[in-house]
Amino acid sequence: MTLELLLQYLVAGLTYGSIYAVVAIGFNIIYNATGIINFAQGEFVMLGGMIAVSLERTVPLPLAVAGAVAATAAVGALVEIAFVRWLRRPSVLRLIVITIGVAILLREGALVAWGEGVRSLPYFTGNEVSALSFAGARISPQVLWVLGTTALIVAFLSFFFGHTMLGWEMRACAANRDAAALCGIPTRNLVTFSFVLSAAIGALAGCVVSPITYTSYAVGAPLAIKGFTVAILGGLGNSGGAVAAGLVLGVLESLSVSLLPTAYKDVVTLTILLAILFVRPSGLFGSREASGLKDLG
């Protein structure tokens, strides 16, 4: 393999990997607040892309993206309020099954609303063929949009959780929900907010990646599985780890395509997931105790 080709695979891997990282961070936000793994996380990415494509027909692109993020955040809130909020001490098993059902309903709803067709947003700058040259590899400007947006999301979240009152309250809620409630923190609303936040970042990722990967009603489930792989790899609940793990997984997957038939791409990812669950369930970057294997059951 030439250096240029390797670089090309690397760039493709980083692009996909940063989307996996955003999905994984979405998992982490909800997991930290509630201990739930939200199987519908991938559907938020799908909804973001699909809604933006529809809006883009009537309004300018930035407005379409903003509208899609807001609408998906609203869906996130709705999901939490309708399906999670009012349950009293639900078991983990029950919550898993509910979020699986919600994921299917969102996907089938998208199928009814938008049909089976594959759609995409226009390139944010330039078009399909415009490219920047970098050390012999050709990089689409959209790749920079994806990487930049991911970096922005991560920076925003670390500021949010590190320096704002709402972020502190969410961390308190994650650390000890009962103690947080005793301190007057409205834990229930924060759980809703965690769904809003992770739906919003998922939708934003779905928008920026749409010109490159296209989007259809069915993209959610594979993204959810890969996002979960990344979340586990990085240590469940650890968002810095998720970014590193996402990029690693994206690159591995991209390189696997050069060696194995494309049909087996997902098999590579999932084998990695199983291997990690078997060998080191706390992830590459998590400590064994810190993973805690939080359990509501």
Partner: protein, 358 residues
């Protein structure tokens, strides 16, 4: 309403006979085909019911095991070994009657592995995969088995779709009937329809009997203790890890056997049987019937599978099962058939002492 076990089995047998007589009387004997297929799907969900109800674990890989069963037996029973007749391994198979000749469609003769041998191979493979998946994952708590089995199911489905030797998107066809005993065979011929209907539901009855006996044995009581309070059960000396693994493997094997039998009945298998949506559907059926309630699961499976196979849900097939899953888990976490209206009202009413289900 509490019936003795003999009465329950009697009621079940009566329902099976009634369904056959009614559909024949109504001139809809073709319903029996879908009812027979429902029986095999029921076999796959009964084990899952035990796993979800007693071990408190969820498997999203049930369709993966079903597909391992179906594809293994389809591959072995359709692979023509006659060109390799001279190979010592093939010769040994023939001598042991594990490979048998049969006429093909064009009047020639093919030599392939006998369905019995293929079935045993499929079950061994399914059990081996279940053990190697279950041993590491069941040490972890919560949602890890769900994700690991989801990953496993997706791998099986990707491999089925992506592998030419397994027929890729078309799947495998031309699978011969499975002669269980002389005169009794699992196959889709119209002449065998009634026979196959009773055979399939008879196998379900057999599985029910075995599972019910298991529940009412020492092992079953230990499983019940795990369901109630896992830590307490362990403190009393119950080997919870081994029991959970055993239940998981049992669930996997029932699905494998179901896959083998349905593949012979349909004379083939396609990648849709391996899809994750199928696994989710099995979970939905168990949820409707009530986790750990074998009779509830059986009833829910017979009805829902039949309606789905007859196409009553149309293009909303997946959406119906997703919706059922959400509604049941929100309002009837113990299953619709176990629903207690007073408890439901109490759950929905505000102001209640904290508690609820574990």
């Amino acid at each position: 309403m509490r019936l003795s076990r003999a009465a329950q089995v009697g009621l079940f047998a009566a329902a099976v006979v009634a369904a056959q007589l009614l559909s024949s009387a109504a001139g809809k004997a073709f319903f029996l085909t879908q009812l027979t297929m429902s029986a095999y799907y029921t076999l796959a969900v009964l084990g899952l019911s035990l796993l979800m109800g007693y071990a408190g674990q969820i498997s999203l890989g049930q369709a993966g095991f079903f597909a391992i069963g179906g594809y293994t037996s389809a591959l072995l029973t359709t692979l023509d070994l006659s060109p390799q007749r001279g190979h010592p391994l093939v010769a040994a198979l023939v001598r042991l009657h594990l490979a048998v000749p049969r006429p093909d469609l064009y009047g020639g003769e093919v030599l392939s592995v006998s369905p019995w041998a293929a079935c045993v191979a499929a079950v061994l493979l399914g059990a081996a995969v279940a053990v190697s998946l279950g041993v590491p994952v069941l040490r972890l708590r919560g949602h890890y088995l769900a994700m690991a089995t989801l990953a496993f199911g997706t791998i099986v489905s990707s491999v089925a779709v992506g592998t030419q030797a397994l027929g890729a998107a078309d799947g495998l066809s031309g699978v011969p009937p499975f002669v269980l005993f002389p005169g009794l065979r699992v196959g889709g011929g119209a002449a065998d329809r009634v026979q196959n209907y009773y055979l399939a539901w008879g196998l379900v009855a057999l599985a029910m009997l075995l599972l019910l006996n298991l529940i009412h044995s020492r092992t079953g009581r230990a499983l019940g203790a795990i369901h109630g309070a896992e830590d307490a059960a362990r403190a009393m000396g119950v080997d919870t890890g081994a029991l959970k693994l055993g239940t998981f493997v049992l669930a996997a094997v029932t699905a494998t056997v179901a896959g083998v039998l349905l593949t012979h009945y349909n004379a083939g298998i396609g990648p849709s049987e391996a899809g994750v949506m199928k696994s989710v559907r099995y979970v939905a059926i168990v949820a409707v019937g009530g986790m750990g309630s074998l009779w509830g699961t059986l009833s829910a499976s017979a009805v829902l599978n039949f309606l789905s196979l007859r196409g009553y849900f149309g293009a909303y097939d997946d959406a119906v099962f997703g919706g059922i899953l959400v509604l049941v888990m929100l309002f009837f976490p113990d299953g619709i058939l176990a629903a207690d209206v007073r408890a439901l009202v109490a759950r929905l009413a505000p102001r209640r002492a904290p508690g609820g289900e574990a």
